[in-house]
């Protein structure tokens, strides 16, 4: 259980880089019939980057889970290859060089987090600061001068030539806040109030924070039309509330609030209603042709359908025919060229990342760590579910990035930071305890 497994990690890392290089080569072969000239430099760049990340991890978090870094490298690398492929097809908005630069910055962020944060429990002290920071970050794009509107959504902040999406960082800050807050209040929140049917309702006065969070989520939705982010935050909060209090009633209340909120939003905001319609009647020709209709969703479905089981092969399909194929719809683009098989592999990698995160939560020795690791893992899974489910028409489509794959600097930085936190916590959880008695970390937790 607590071997360091550094060698295995380095091997897997090399393997991940090799897969990405192979994919890169096949893009060149598929499009121009020859291996791209920059392939060696590209591979060395990515390899060097990941080696650096590995060295930092080996030095500052030697007991960390060996799987996280190679898995993230693989999806990040596949995303890079897909963006490169779409750029080659003449999509001006896709830039593989930019994405590589942001990946490098993401690795810097990862390393900096590991080096600066020797003990993640420090974060517990900043519970309320994190909460305010999170809300501030959410509001930031609404401010004049620095807020920017791109593609009809005002979720950007301009810093010189760069635009960042503060919501990506707000996500992290709010999970830290939730973890800290819920650990402090969980006893109160777990108190039973009235019984309704067979459910113990919590006390009414304790509903406050839940309602406030729900309000914030709705506020984000109203102000920024960012359906994805509000759904993400609300779901993450309900999940963490459940983990903290072990009360199913919170989940039920959360679902009720969500359904109510969604219904309200559907009544009030035409764009929410439109999303539902698109989801329900995507194949309707009238809706397909309507502006802001189901065109994009159906194009994504065509891409995946055309890929079939094995895909067309990299560089051989037409993934760039789907609008935003390099960001929101990168999953369908991958589906077209790598097929159902490739998508299953990618989903498997994501599932493994989440699963390693949740293992860390289970193995952690203190409630704050458990809650933080559980929350971060869940928010990652939840985000993948919302966006991938959206583009594959499992659920209504809301705009979110596919973690590590979609083009977008802010998301890359924030998600690399998230992984750094998980790595830091898994290092703490797997580090052999100083006392001789080894227990699975359950010694300090009273099981109810």
């Amino acid at each position: 259980m607590t071997a360091k497994r550094r060698g295995a990690q380095l091997g897997m890392l090399a393997f991940a880089v090799l897969i990405v290089m192979g994919a890169y080569a096949s893009v060149g072969l598929g499009i121009n019939g020859k291996v791209p000239s920059g392939m060696l430099g590209y591979g060395l760049g990515l390899g060097g980057l990941m080696l650096a990340a590995y060295l930092v991890l080996a030095k500052w978090a030697p007991w960390a889970d060996p799987l996280l870094l190679p898995l993230v490298t693989l999806v990040n690398g596949i995303g890079l290859v897909m963006i490169y492929r779409i750029e080659l097809a003449g999509e001006h908005l896709a830039s593989a060089a930019n994405q590589l630069m942001w990946t490098a910055l993401g690795v810097v962020m990862f390393s900096a987090t590991l080096i600066a944060l020797r003990d993640h429990r420090v974060l517990q002290r900043f519970t309320y600061t994190a909460g305010f920071a999170g809300i501030a970050l959410l509001v930031l794009p609404m401010l004049p001068f620095i807020g920017r509107e791109i593609n009809g959504a005002r979720i950007w902040v301009g810093i010189g030539p760069f635009s960042i999406q503060p919501a990506e960082f707000a996500k992290l800050a709010l999970v830290v806040f939730f973890a800290g807050y819920l650990v402090a209040k969980r006893d109160v929140l777990a108190l039973a109030g009235r019984r309704l049917l067979f459910i113990d309702l919590p006390r009414a006065r304790d509903l406050g924070p839940v309602l406030i969070t729900w309000g914030i989520s709705l506020g984000v939705l109203v102000m920024q039309k960012d359906l994805g982010s509000s759904l993400l935050l609300f779901g993450a909060f309900v999940a963490m509330l459940y983990v903290a209090t072990q009360r199913t009633s919170w989940v039920l209340i959360g679902i009720l609030l969500f359904v109510g909120g969604a219904f309200l939003a559907g009544q009030i905001f035409s764009h929410v209603e439109a999303r539902f319609n698109i989801w329900l009647h995507a194949e309707d020709p009238a809706l397909y042709d309507a502006g802001g209709g189901s065109f994009q969703l159906m194009q994504g479905m065509f891409a995946m359908g055309s890929g079939g089981i094995l895909g067309t092969g990299l560089g051989q399909g037409y993934p760039y025919k789907v609008p935003l194929s390099f960001s929101d719809f990168i999953f369908t683009a991958t589906g077209e060229e790598l097929g159902l098989t490739g998508l299953m592999a990618i989903l498997m990698v994501y599932a493994l990342i989440v699963e390693r995160g949740l293992r860390t939560a289970l193995a952690a020795r203190d409630p704050f760590t458990k809650l933080l690791a559980g929350g971060l893992s869940f928010i990652l899974a939840w985000q993948i579910f919302i966006i991938v489910g959206g583009v594959t028409r499992l659920i209504p489509l809301t705009g979110l990035v596919t973690p590590f794959m979609s083009a977008g600097g802010s998301a890359l930085l924030a998600n690399w930071m998230l992984i750094a936190l998980l790595v830091r916590m898994s290092d703490a959880a797997r580090r052999p305890p100083p006392q001789a008695i080894q227990d699975e970390g359950l010694t300090q937790v009273m099981q109810r």
Binding site: L29, G30, Y242, F302, G305, S306, L347, A351, L358, T392
Partner: protein, 486 residues
């Protein structure tokens, strides 16, 4: 906190499970529908990224459809039809969103997606070369095809010609008039193609239809061959010299009308079978039909292929002798004037069956399929469809049909030095409307018949010259000559 964490882990697992199930459903179950959706632009691009196999005839010596590398990035390969109109209905066209004829029926070979070509396709994929399809060689005799088209189009009427090789079922010629140039329909531009197609589709003469196999018509007197076959088969003592009643007019049972001979001609009250067929009297065959009965007549027609589902590889419209509507109707069915509806191909099969000692072969168009490397992948082996009549009955029928050409209505089909057998047909359509003209024939008579032909001219010109003998027989003559190489 571990038990709720475990539940959250299960919830995450469920979410990924749902995503995977949904992706699987899309990538396998729904894939076909999504792939072929008309709004999926990939279909269009992919059509032009395949080095499509050629369509040839005369054992590969003549090119009917070829693929041209335009060098265009998006629509690289275009289709061209160098011989154009005479071959349109057989070869078909390969349009942006549809196809017809052989182009459609053999598409999986031509575009290389057929399982037989799977290894080859894999090699193309790995090497990054554009996929190359297999070539299809047709049984057509291009000379006969062009003669048939020239003659029929020259009459200025609508119609069809089908020529078969009696011993194998090879389709040597298949022409439908009016025809059209397929090249404009093969352009990689949806709009221009749709315009061209709509224009053809609106044309009152329906050029898009292949009259040889898509439509059925009243066969008129050519059907008397089938009636004779049933009559001769019923009793082996009958032959070409059997005497039958041939009144000038035949009162139809249960009605107050009587059936006349063509233009009220007389056949002298009694006639031998050969005489009756030679001058194409109506009354003796009507009587024979009533004698044989509906069931036997239908069975005889079915043995020649009527009503049997056929793919050549295109679907052939089913021919039919019509429902059993009593004696009076049967009398008219026997002379091809009731509700019998035959494709020209079906009538060619009747002639070919008689020529081939009574055995009808399954008609086919695909001679062989050559892989992208030129090696033969598959060839068609001739298949028996049915034994329509015994060789003896076929012999009697042949003698009767020779008499038609030598002494009767089919004189225009004579070829010096070759014995030709045939039968004319003039099918009345609607009162006041001109008749269809038919001619079926085969040559040479004997153990090695080379060609059987059916010529059909739709609702000829006005009135009386639209007899099979005058309009259709000369065309059959030219087509037979072309096949015989004389």
């Amino acid at each position: 906190m571990n038990s709720p964490l475990k539940r959250v882990a299960v919830a995450c697992l469920l979410m990924f499970g749902l995503l995977m199930a949904n992706v699987t459903y899309l990538g396998s179950v729904k894939a076909e529908g999504l792939r072929n959706d008309s709004r999926n632009v990939r279909m269009l691009f992919n059509r032009y990224n395949i080095d499509r196999g050629w369509i040839t005839a005369d054992n590969g010596k003549t090119t009917l459809a070829k693929t041209v590398d335009t060098g265009d990035k998006q629509f690289r390969f275009e289709r061209e039809y160098p011989l154009g109109k005479p071959f349109t209905h057989v070869v078909g066209w390969f349009a942006p969103e549809s196809a017809s004829g052989i182009e459609a029926a053999m598409n999986r070979y031509l575009d290389g997606s057929h399982p037989d070509l799977v290894v080859r396709r894999a090699i193309d994929l790995v090497s990054g070369k554009p996929a190359k399809g297999a070539s299809v060689d047709l049984t057509l005799n291009t000379k006969a095809q062009e003669v048939a088209y020239k003659d029929l189009a020259g009459t200025g009427k609508r119609g069809a010609v089908v020529a078969l090789e009696p011993k194998t079922g090879k389709i040597l010629a298949m022409v439908s008039v009016p025809s059209y140039d397929p090249n404009p329909l093969a352009k990689a531009n949806k709009d221009t193609v749709n315009k061209a197609y709509n224009k053809l589709n609106k044309d009152d003469n329906k050029p898009l239809l292949n009259r040889a196999i898509n439509l059925t018509f009243a066969p008129g007197s050519t059907f008397k061959t089938v009636t004779s076959a049933a009559y001769l088969s019923e009793d082996t003592s009958r032959d070409e010299n059997t005497q039958v009643d041939a009144p000038d007019a035949l009162p139809l049972p249960g009605t107050n009308i009587s059936l006349p001979n063509y233009h009220g001609e007389s056949c002298g009250g009694r006639a031998t079978l050969v005489q009756a067929l030679t001058i194409s009297c109506n009354t003796p065959f009507a009587i024979m039909g009533m004698d044989v009965g509906y069931d036997k007549l239908k069975e005889q027609a079915e043995k020649f292929g009527v009503g049997q589902p056929l793919k050549i590889p295109m679907e052939v419209a089913p021919s039919d002798i019509g429902p059993d509507e009593g004696k009076a109707a049967l009398a008219k069915t026997a002379i091809g004037q009731q509700s019998n509806q035959m494709t020209p191909l079906q009538m060619a099969m009747v002639a070919a069956g008689i020529a081939n000692q009574g055995t009808v072969m399954k008609p086919y168009l695909v001679n062989k399929i050559m892989g992208p490397d030129g090696a033969e992948i598959d060839g068609t082996d001739p298949e028996e469809l049915d034994e329509a009549v015994t060789p003896e009955v076929a012999g009697e029928l042949t003698k009767m049909m020779i008499s038609v050409v030598e002494h009767g209505t089919g004189g225009a089909a004579r070829i010096p030095g070759i014995t030709v057998a045939g039968k004319t047909g003039t099918a009345e359509t609607l009162p006041g409307k001109p008749s269809h003209a038919w001619f079926i024939s085969f040559a040479p008579v004997g153990d090695d018949p080379k060609v059987a032909v059916a010529v059909f001219v739709e609702s000829g010109s006005a009135g009386n010259d639209a007899t099979g003998g005058a309009v259709a027989a000369p065309i059959a003559h030219d087509v037979m000559q072309a096949v015989l190489g004389r």
